[in-house]
């Protein structure tokens, strides 16, 4: 196998006495689409936070694109090509959708380029909006978009940074089924551009449609790492999601 774009080895994280992640190992290959599943509170979002720099791992290492990013800050990781989206994306109210997209390309924005005219390609921004069927909201305040549109926009923002890997936090939660379908298509197109995807998701259908492999977490541990089709036959996964037969008996 070629060198993975993201390699998480032996990562652990606790919040006080609560150990959220224990010795996690996970790899995402270049151009691969990996689903990250697990019941609520199993540590998926924490793992995303550690990878994107929003939190620090207590132990283990995270290698991205050949660099050890374990101790890097959010912006440095983003500049290196690992961007994340948020489960409930919040967008500015006093900037238009087009402005936010122009702003999203932060490369080369420094003190010395303070007065350099904005050379972001409007064609690129327009093409991106067109591809997401968001052209009609181009000049609206970004904060006024619906939840689903904000999710699409946050993927567009991630694309503007020229990423190697995008980590998506529940891209279909609260999204209309029609939009969900276009989300699958969009993410396929993203993947075809050579960008790897790590998707935290609860929707099994979505995972099956899109992912080539999925990793299941439960109580801070990896309990499965397989193709989506074999998930339902994996006892530990079924147990994690539905409870064990004995539990069911107890409920009955």
């Amino acid at each position: 196998m070629a060198e993975p774009v993201l390699k998480i080895s032996g990562v652990a994280k606790s919040y006080g006495a609560n150990q959220v992640l224990k010795d996690i190992n996970l790899e995402v290959g270049a151009q691969e689409i990996v689903g990250l599943l697990g019941p609520n509170g199993c540590g998926k979002s924490t793992l995303l936070n550690l990878s994107s720099g929003f939190a620090r791992a207590d132990a283990g290492s995270i290698i991205f694109g050949g660099h050890d990013i374990t101790a890097w800050g959010v912006e440095r990781i983003a500049q290196a090509g690992l961007v994340r989206t948020f489960q409930l994306p919040s967008m500015p109210h006093r900037m238009t959708v087009a402005e936010v997209l122009r702003a999203a390309d932060s490369r080369g924005v420094q003190f010395k380029t303070m007065f350099a005219p904005d050379r972001s390609s409007m064609q690129e921004v327009d093409a991106l909006l067109e591809g997401l069927s968001l052209s009609h909201v181009r000049n609206l305040p970004a904060g006024s978009l619906s939840g689903g549109q904000k999710k699409l926009l946050s993927i567009a923002l991630a694309l503007r940074t020229n990423p190697k890997l995008i980590c998506l936090d529940e891209p279909t939660a609260g999204v209309h089924p029609n939009l969900r379908h276009s989300m699958v298509q969009l993410l396929r197109r993203v993947s075809e551009r050579g960008i790897a995807l790590l998707i935290v998701e609860h929707d099994m259908h979505f995972i099956r449609e899109l992912c080539s492999r999925c990793v299941v977490l439960d109580r801070g541990e990896v309990i499965a790492n397989c193709v989506p089709a074999s998930l339902t036959s994996n006892e530990r996964v079924v147990e994690a999601y539905l409870g064990s037969a004995r539990d069911k008996g107890a409920i009955a």
Binding site: S52, E75, S90, A103, V109, F111, T113, D118
Partner: protein, 297 residues
């Protein structure tokens, strides 16, 4: 009357620079700076120290630039993880620290007596022509500051500032270094405020710690809140409006035959009342920020 009008216009230009500078921080960068007057003081004392130690005009500019860059850098760095409102409190405290240092280090700054007799900007001129010359200088510097601010907020840097203002986490997640944006915004706007202080010192020919009271900061805040946060023209308009009203309060007092205390009291009422009124009923100010478009936003 004509000379008085010129004086009012000069003060309008100087306060406009302070308002532009604060508006860049608050209106565009979301940086709630309550210590703006300390940056003005850096410029004023730059001029005063150069005069006191006979270093010449150019060294005065260098001292002003150095002091304001240092204080702005300290403002940006202080409590780097604080939320905007707590950061605002820290800036207020820092500005007071600067004022108290200036008051107490008499050997350097002249203490509470300040430094007087600073050379005017155009010593070869006198009387009305000197005043007109001063106005021309103030107007020109204001224009340069305004154009620079407009250019900055239209650049990618300006877009980054706006993104940081409303969604700092989002800005970070697409690769913006929040600390460096903050620092850049503070240092650049610090230069504009220091320029106003520098010219003020040469114009009034006196610099003292009394010019650095925090009430001055709130006056500048009132100007940008009334003019319109996030709109450069709004900031300039707010500064002109309040300066003109203040200048003509004494005439109103005379007309109505009110006591002298009325003037100072009325100024305070206008600042406080204006701030409260606009925050309650017209948060966008007289000239609201333009979202999108190519205007001054």
């Amino acid at each position: 009357m004509f000379d008085f009008l010129i004086h009012v216009l000069i003060m309008c230009c100087l306060y406009s620079m302070l308002a532009l500078s604060l508006n860049l921080q608050v209106g565009f960068g979301g940086l709630m700076n309550f210590g703006q007057i300390a940056l003005f003081g850096c410029g004023a004392y730059g001029a005063a120290l150069a005069y006191k130690y006979d270093l010449g005009f150019a060294s005065g500019i260098l001292i002003a630039v150095g002091l304001s860059a240092f204080v702005s850098w300290a403002f940006a760095g202080i409590g780097r993880n604080l939320q905007s409102d707590y950061w605002g409190i820290a800036t207020l405290a820092l500005a007071e620290v600067v004022r108290i240092i200036v008051t107490n280090e008499g050997w350097l700054t002249g203490g509470a007596q300040g430094i007087s007799g600073i050379k005017p900007l155009l010593p070869e001129l006198s009387g009305r022509s000197q005043q007109l010359g001063n106005l021309a200088i103030c107007g020109a510097v204001l224009l340069v500051a305004l154009l620079a601010c407009m250019r900055l907020t239209r650049s990618r840097y300006g877009l980054g500032l706006k993104l940081m203002r409303e969604e700092p986490q989002l800005a970070q997640s697409v690769g913006y270094d929040i600390m460096s944006l903050k620092r850049g915004c503070m240092i650049f706007s610090g230069f504009i405020a220091a320029a106003a202080g520098f010219i003020f010192a040469h114009y009034i020919t006196f610099v003292g710690p009394d010019q650095m009271f925090s009430s001055e900061t709130f006056l500048i805040w009132a100007m940008i809140v009334i003019g319109g946060l996030g709109n450069h023209f709004g900031a300039v308009f707010g500064a002109f409006l309040l300066q003109f009203i203040f200048a003509f309060i004494p005439f109103v007092k005379d007309m109505l035959g009110l006591p002298t205390e009325f003037v100072a009291a009325m100024r305070l009422v206008l600042i406080g009342g204006g701030l409260i009124g606009f925050i309650l009923w017209r948060r966008t100010g007289l000239f609201p920020e333009k979202v999108g478009g190519r205007a001054d936003g």
